[in-house]
C-alpha cells in the first residue's frame, strides 16, 4: 500500500467532518495509543496490542474533525535515528532515494513528504521529530515540555519526550499543534501556555518587541515577518558538522538576514556534553519504563518452563530488538550500585548547566539557530553496526530536550548532491509563536 513502508497499520478513523482539521488526514506515530487500532511502538513486543483507550492527542484530533489515516513506522520504542530498528522493516526516504528518513518518527515524516497523509504526529525525545523532518524535507515542531499531554503515549523517557506535529509547511504544523496543545488532567506535567489564555501577558523571557504584534492563534503567528529578529548561532553546534550542511545552513541564515533578521555567534560550552547527558538520562529512564514488558499484561505468549524471572527474561529476549536491549542494559548499568553518581548524577548536573546556558543565550537573542542534523541523511544500513556514531548524530537536537525548550525544524535547502538539510530554530519556554514566526519566513 505504502511505497515507502511509512505505515505499520493502515486503518482509517473517519473524521466527523466538522472542526479545524475537518478536511485533513493525519497519520499518527505508532507509539501513541489509538482505541481499537493496533499500536506496536515498532516492536514485536507489542505486535497485536490493541489499546482500550485513546491518547489525549488522539481525542483532540477526533474533536477537531480530523481523519486518522493510519499508524506510522518508527524506530523500536523510539530508539534510533534512522527508522531502521523497527521490527516491521525500515522506512524509505521519499526525498532522498537510498537514504534513511531519519528517526525515530521516520514513518510520520515520510508519510507527509510522500503525500500519503496531509499531516502527522511524531514524538521527540532527543530529536525524533526534528531529525526525520530535516531528512525528509518537511517541517517538524518539538513543543515546550508540558505543552502537549503525554497521556496515552507509550513512554520511553518521560522527562524528555513530547508529542508534536510534522507537516509540509510551518502554518500547517502550527495549526496541528494548536489542536493538540493544552492542559490535561491525565498528565500532571502539562500546563496552559501563556499565549493560550486570550490576555497576552507576554512571557517575561520573551524580551524586546519582536513578538508583540502576534495574535492569539499559533497559525496566525506563521506570518513570515522576521524584521528585527535577533538570531543567536551557537558555534558548538557547527563544530564538526558536515561542510555541505554548514554551507546550506549559512545560506538559510542569509535568507533570513535579507528579510530583516540579524545574527550573532554565541558560545555555549555546556552543549559539548549534551549527547552523553542525554543518553545517560534517556537510557536510565528507558530501563525503568520498559520493565513493564514482561509478557503478562500484553506481549508475546510465553511458553517457557521456569520461574517468573526466567520466563520474563525469555519474553524480553524474544520481544525486544538489539538497540532496545542495548539501551535497557546501559540504563540498568548507569543506575546500578556504585555507578549512579558517576553517570546519572553527572548527567543531571550537565542538564542543569545546559538549561542555564540556554537561558543566558536567549537573553541576548529571540531565537537560536543551528543545522537540525550535523550530517545529511545517511545511506541505509550504514549506521546500524556502530551505535556510538549514531548517538553522536543527535548532537544538535538533544540539548533542546534536556532544556525542555521548543524547537522547529524547517527545510533550509539541499546540499549540492540534492540531500535535504534542516534548519533548527530554538525558542524560550512556551515561545512557540516566536519559532513559528521565524520558521515561516523559510517554509
Amino acid at each position: 500500500m505504502s511505497t515507502y513502508n511509512a505505515f505499520v497499520t493502515r486503518e482509517t478513523i473517519e473524521g466527523s467532518g466538522e472542526g479545524p482539521l475537518a478536511d485533513k488526514t493525519v497519520a499518527v506515530k505508532d507509539n501513541i495509543s489509538t482505541e481499537g487500532i493496533q499500536t506496536t511502538c515498532g516492536s514485536k513486543m507489542l505486535e497485536g496490542y490493541v489499546p482500550p483507550y485513546d491518547a489525549t492527542v488522539v481525542e483532540r484530533l477526533k474533536d477537531a474533525g480530523a481523519t486518522i489515516s493510519g499508524k506510522t513506522n518508527m524506530d523500536e520504542f523510539g530508539m534510533g535515528t534512522t527508522t531502521e530498528t523497527s521490527a516491521f522493516g525500515a522506512t524509505e526516504n521519499p526525498a532522498a532515494e537510498g537514504r534513511v528518513p531519519g528517526g525515530s518518527s521516520g514513518g510520520s515524516a515520510a508519510a507527509v513528504a510522500a503525500g500519503e497523509a496531509d499531516l502527522a504526529l511524531g514524538t521527540d525525545t532527543g530529536g525524533s521529530i526534528r531529525c526525520p523532518a530535516a531528512f525528509c524535507g518537511v517541517v517538524g515542531i518539538k513543543p515546550t515540555y508540558g505543552l502537549v499531554s503525554r497521556y496515552g503515549l507509550i513512554a520511553y523517557a518521560n522527562s524528555l519526550e513530547q508529542i508534536g506535529p510534522i507537516a509540509p509547511s510551518v502554518e500547517d504544523a502550527a495549526e496541528l499543534l494548536e489542536v493538540i496543545a493544552g492542559q490535561d488532567d491525565h498528565d500532571a506535567t502539562t500546563r496552559e501556555a501563556p499565549w493560550a489564555s486570550e490576555k497576552r501577558a507576554g512571557d517575561a523571557r520573551e524580551q524586546g518587541s519582536f513578538d508583540e504584534a502576534v495574535g492569539s492563534g499559533l497559525s496566525e503567528a506563521a506570518d513570515g515577518d522576521v524584521d528585527g529578529l535577533q538570531i543567536g548561532v551557537p558555534t558548538e553546534l557547527l563544530d564538526g558538522a558536515d561542510e555541505a550542511v554548514v554551507d546550506t545552513f549559512w545560506d538559510a541564515i542569509g535568507e533570513l538576514e535579507s528579510q530583516g533578521a540579524s545574527y550573532h555567534e554565541v558560545s555555549m560550552e555546556s552543549l559539548e556534553h549534551a549527547v552523553e547527558a542525554y543518553y545517560v538520562i534517556a537510557m536510565s529512564e528507558a530501563s525503568s519504563n520498559l520493565a513493564r514488558f514482561d509478557g503478562v499484561r500484553y506481549g508475546p505468549t510465553p511458553e517457557y518452563e521456569g520461574n517468573w524471572n526466567e520466563e520474563f527474561a525469555g519474553v524480553r529476549e524474544e520481544g525486544f530488538g538489539e538497540e532496545v536491549k542495548r539501551r535497557i542494559l546501559l540504563g540498568t548499568y548507569a543506575l546500578s550500585a556504585g555507578y549512579h553518581d558517576k553517570y546519572y548524577k553527572q548527567a543531571q548536573d550537565a542538564r542543569d548547566w545546559i538549561k542555564q546556558d540556554f537561558d543566558e543565550a536567549l537573553r541576548e537573542a529571540d531565537v537560536l539557530a543551528s543545522p537540525t542534523m550535523p550530517v545529511p541523511p545517511m545511506e541505509r544500513g550504514e549506521s546500524l553496526d556502530d551505535p556510538l556514531t549514531m548517538y553522536l548524530a543527535d548532537a544538535n537536537t538533544t540539548p533542546v530536550n534536556l532544556a525542555n525548550l521548543p524547537a522547529i525544524s524547517v527545510p533550509a535547502g539541499e546540499t549540492d548532491d540534492g540531500l535535504p538539510v534542516g534548519l533548527q530554530i530554538v525558542g524560550p519556554a512556551f515561545g512557540e509563536k516566536t519559532i513559528i514566526r521565524a520558521g515561516s519566513a523559510l517554509a
Binding site: 503478562v296 517468573w308 546501559l330 548547566w353
Partner: protein, 92 residues
C-alpha cells in the same frame, strides 16, 4: 580518558538484573560496544557543579474515584487470564 573495563561477565550480570536473556554473540558485541559508549560517557566528569533553581510546583488533585477501564478492557491484551485476573508464571 581511560577506557572503562567491561567484561562479558559484567554484561551478563546487568542483563540478569534487567531480566533480558542474551545469546553469546550479543554478549560479545555488547561487551565491545559498552566499553566504547561508557568511555564516551566519561566526558561527563568534566561537567562543573551548577546552582540550579528549579521552577517546580506540586500538582495536586482531590483524591476522588473516577471512571476507569473495565476489568474486561484491562485484560483484553493479556496472553493469559483466569477468573478476571492476569495470569503470570509461577513465582519460584
Amino acid at each position: 580518558m581511560s577506557e572503562p573495563a567491561v567484561d562479558p561477565e559484567e554484561v551478563r550480570h546487568v542483563a540478569d538484573l534487567a531480566r533480558v536473556d542474551l545469546d553469546d554473540e550479543e554478549v560479545e558485541r555488547f561487551t565491545e560496544q559498552f566499553g566504547e559508549i561508557l568511555a564516551a560517557f566519561e566526558a561527563l566528569e568534566e561537567v562543573p557543579e551548577v546552582e540550579s533553581e528549579a521552577d517546580l510546583v506540586n500538582v495536586m488533585r482531590p483524591d476522588e474515584a473516577h471512571e476507569c477501564l473495565s476489568q474486561e478492557e484491562a485484560l483484553q491484551n493479556a496472553p493469559e487470564s483466569e477468573d478476571g485476573y492476569f495470569k503470570g508464571p509461577k513465582v519460584s
